[in-house]
Every structure is written in structure tokens, then in C-alpha cells.
Symmetry: C2
Subunit: 323 residues, 2 copies
Amino acid sequence: MAVFTHVGAEDIARFLENYGIGPLTSAKGIAEGVENSNYLVEAGGTRYILTLYEKRVDADDLPFFVAFINHLADAGNPVPRILPDANGSHVQRLMGRPACLIQYLPGISLSRPNGRQAYATGAALARLHNSAADFVGGPANPQGPAQWRFLTDLIGARLDDILPGLHASVARECDALERLWPHDLPTGVIHADLFPDNVLVLGDDVSGIIDFYFACRDTTAYDFAVTHSAWCFSPDGSTPLPTLAASLAKGYQSVRPLSTAEIAVMPVLARGAALRFLLTRAHDWLDTPENALVVKKDPIAYLRRLDAYRADTAGALFGFAAP
Amino acid sequence: MAVFTHVGAEDIARFLENYGIGPLTSAKGIAEGVENSNYLVEAGGTRYILTLYEKRVDADDLPFFVAFINHLADAGNPVPRILPDANGSHVQRLMGRPACLIQYLPGISLSRPNGRQAYATGAALARLHNSAADFVGGPANPQGPAQWRFLTDLIGARLDDILPGLHASVARECDALERLWPHDLPTGVIHADLFPDNVLVLGDDVSGIIDFYFACRDTTAYDFAVTHSAWCFSPDGSTPLPTLAASLAKGYQSVRPLSTAEIAVMPVLARGAALRFLLTRAHDWLDTPENALVVKKDPIAYLRRLDAYRADTAGALFGFAAP
């Protein structure tokens, strides 16, 4: 990750004048988040994140992100509030790009979370889901089942360049998930991308949940499945981490107990999560030039997860306590 | 610029244990400096810069950088002290790379400095030169006149791909500078790369001088010439900024008056500075692949400066007060 748009300190200082804060005493471009440009700035003794949205985030979606994140912040969730300028406007333009000034949250993002951090993250995700329940609106998931089919057809036989037979296998999985996908579970706005590096911790406590740019309206339990797929395997997908999974589940259920129906269908939801990341990674893998500014992530790591979730023994991966 | 080596927060936390500081409460990869990987970290309520040295900085040179920077810090210059670990060692290894923990300095780096900032920078550079006077050691400038000849021959006729006739013109300039270069002026360890983005300011005051990885032993007045070439033109080199130059000179001379000999030869020193950046930029321009992580800088911007310094009117570029 990198800074894609360079903003001079003078321009940042002028930008901050709209917010009535200053003077600017530090501005560092930071390598964080998806393909946006981020600056960690300090002004008037307080730190902020200045984000310029590059092409991956649609400016038309920003009002939703602002409303949802600030709704969560108002409800006491540790999310980075998007700040209004002196005119009450949350989205500005800087260097020709949409730009927001965002609350800085302390904490470090993890590579190898421990069980206590998984428990705290489960609980924080459940609180987020509870707070999202009374949020009105939000777009349908653009990375949902219809998109999996679309990407499978778009990438087509090139999937076999990653692994022979992958195209047919993925197409069959699309068929299966269309049959098995639940349509009667509770829905709400979900994070949809809660990888460990999108959680900030201080010690074992969650101090921040960040990077909401995949947030959308979808099945609430699917968000738990996405989080499980991101947290509860070794990074290459070869080794399930059931103890960590049990902590994640226990933390989540301490705040929002999953229903019997949600638990029963969790392996199917997790197959969807694994397929989603398998396909977007495969697409990026095949389409990203060498030497590009983004790190290419191995799609096979999610094929291994998909295989685990497809196995008869998949239920054991989640570590749900016996009823 | 970007982060080249990713270090997980857990590894940073373990690294900081050697320094007896903690706990780690924030770690952000920052896009700063030359081709190193830098993290802005906060631990025990204090901010630090963690630098991992990538291949451009030779690990064998680090003890010199440590000694010189800390010598300057001891003398009261606003430079980022390189901190010792609990065993008194300043250079560690992290992720297979040499790594240092460095004092964080507040301040912003400028794109468009004003006259007061140029004055303050001139004075800060002069204080640095005064403090360097009693520093023993330091390598000869690896980017000095011998290297200009070497790069001219190495790049050869490919210089004409940048601009027809450039190779012959640069070779003639090497000849001229070998004849004209002074060998009897005061020398010392110099910064050798004091671009505006290597100066941190708070308002109009210099709060930091950073990025010492070109520091070397050379003619002291040459450092002033390098700074002039970096500060006192529009970025594309087409427009001299004599008012800014007069402020830079006045600030410098308020602390360390330049001798008549140094002033007389300044256009020659500045031709050397312009040639140095012209050649290293040309080399990078021709050898850096598209899509690389570093920004390619236009060598022509320094050809324009070289032309200005070669003109009969070059003396006026510096804004030295009449004696």
C-alpha cells in the first residue's frame, strides 16, 4: 500500500482551515487501508486521518459511509468518526478527489491475533451488528452471490492458469451456493471485510474497527462468516485455528447470540465468504501488473478455506459451544 | 514512496522491548524519506520513527550516520536522535534488515517554502555546519566530481534519449568543473541533500532537519549550493526565485558568514550541485521501470538550473548582499 496522491503540507493546512482546527504541526503519508491515500496529521494538538478517495471508492457512496460510520460512533462503537467542516459538510474535495477528515483512533492492527483479541473482536462485531439494526438504508452487497457468478464467468478459463480445474470447481460452487444460500435470516448493514488488519487493539481490547469501504446491507451472520474466514486459519489457509474460532464465537455470542438457524447455515455462509475472496483475489492476481503499488494476495489461500468449509467436518471449524 | 518491508505490530512490539519502552499503542507505515521503510510508532505515550534500511543505505555506513546525527543533536541542532537500546546499541536487525529507532520530531515538510522559512533554514544549515566542525571522520562524498564523470560515461549516449545533445553538453560540463572546482575552501561533514522536504517547520521555525543518508565530508559551501539549487527555483527549474535566495543567504550568513572566496566560487559549486542531481535523476529516469514504487524525477529540471548557474548573470541568483 502506498500514498497515491501527494498533498503538500500547505494544501493540508489550507484544507484544515475549513474545519476551524490548526495550526498543522505534522503530516505524514501513511500506508493504510485499501487503495486510498491517507495522511496522519496533527493540528491543534489532536491527531486526525485525512483520506483522499482514489478510484476504488465511488464518491456517490461516501454519504452512506459517513452516515453509517457516524451512526455507529453515536451508538458508542469504536469506529473513526468522519468529521464535519465548519459548514457541516463531511465530504470535501482536495487535489481533485473526494476527501474526508476522520477521527484518529489509537491502537495497533494485528497480524497474529490471540484468543483474547479474537473474543474482543467477536464482541465488538456483535455490538456493531446490534447498533446497525436501527440504521435505515445501505446498498445491497456488490460482492454478493450475483457477483461471484459474474466474476467466475468474467475470469473464465484463466482461473485454470492459477490451478488446473479451478474454473469448473468454482462454477460448481456457484451452482451449489445458489441452491443453499439462506434468504430468511436477519439482515442489516455489515462490515463485510473484518480482517485482523481492520481491527485496532490496545493490549487485548478493541480500540478501533476501521476500513468500512465494503460495508453494505446483507445477511448479518454472513459478516461473522467473513470474519471467521479472515481470522481462523493460518494466512495460507492450510491450517484451521479452531481455538481462535471458539474465542471469536464466544465473544460474538456474549453480545448477540446466534440463532439455531444462523449456526446451522454458517458453513454455507463461510463457503460464500471464501468464494468471494477467492474470486476477487483471482481477479486481482490475473489483472494486476507486476511492480504495481498494491500487494497481490494469493487466491489459493481462499481455495483451501473453501475446501475446509465444504468438508463434512466443517461445523467443527467454528467452535460453537454445544447447545 | 512507500513501505517496502512490512513489519507486523507484534514484531514491532517485540523490537521495542529491547529499548525498554512500551506498550506499543500505534504503528503506521509512513511514506517518507529515501528508499527505506519507515513506521511512525507510539509507545509509552511517546512517538518514534522506526526505520528499516533497504538496499540503498549500506549497513556499513550506519555507524557514521548514527555518530554524526547524534553529534549534531548533542550540540543542540534539531535533528532526529538515533536512540540506543538497553545495551547501548543503535543499530539492530529487524526482518533481516538493519533497523534504527529514531526520535520523532514535530513539524511539517514544505513544498513551497516562504522567505521566513528559507531564512530559518539557512540559519539552521549554518548552525549544522558550525556544529560539524569538530566532528572527526566521515566518508568522502560518493556523489562528488569523480562520480559525475563516472555517471556521464555510464549513461553515455542514452543521455541523448532525454534531450538530443545532452551527453556532449554534460561531458563538457564535467571538463569545466574539473578545471574550476575549488580545493582550498573549508570542508566538513555536510547534509548534501537539504531539499525542502528534508526540513520540518512549525510555522516559520525549523523544527527538524532530517534524512541524512547523503551526509559526507565535502566543501562546506557546496552544501549551501546544493540547498540553493533545491530551494531557489520553481520545481521545474525554469524560474529562479532570487527573493527566496536572498532570505536563504541572509539566514545562513547570520550564523556563519561566507568568506569572499566562498561567495566568489558559489556559481561553480552550484553548477556542480545541478550536475549532480541532473545525472542521478537521469540515471534513475532511464533505469527505473514503469510502475515502480519510487517517483521518477525529471532530470531536465536540473539542466535548467545548470544553464542558469552557467550564465554570466549567475551571481545574481544568490542574492548575496553587496559587501
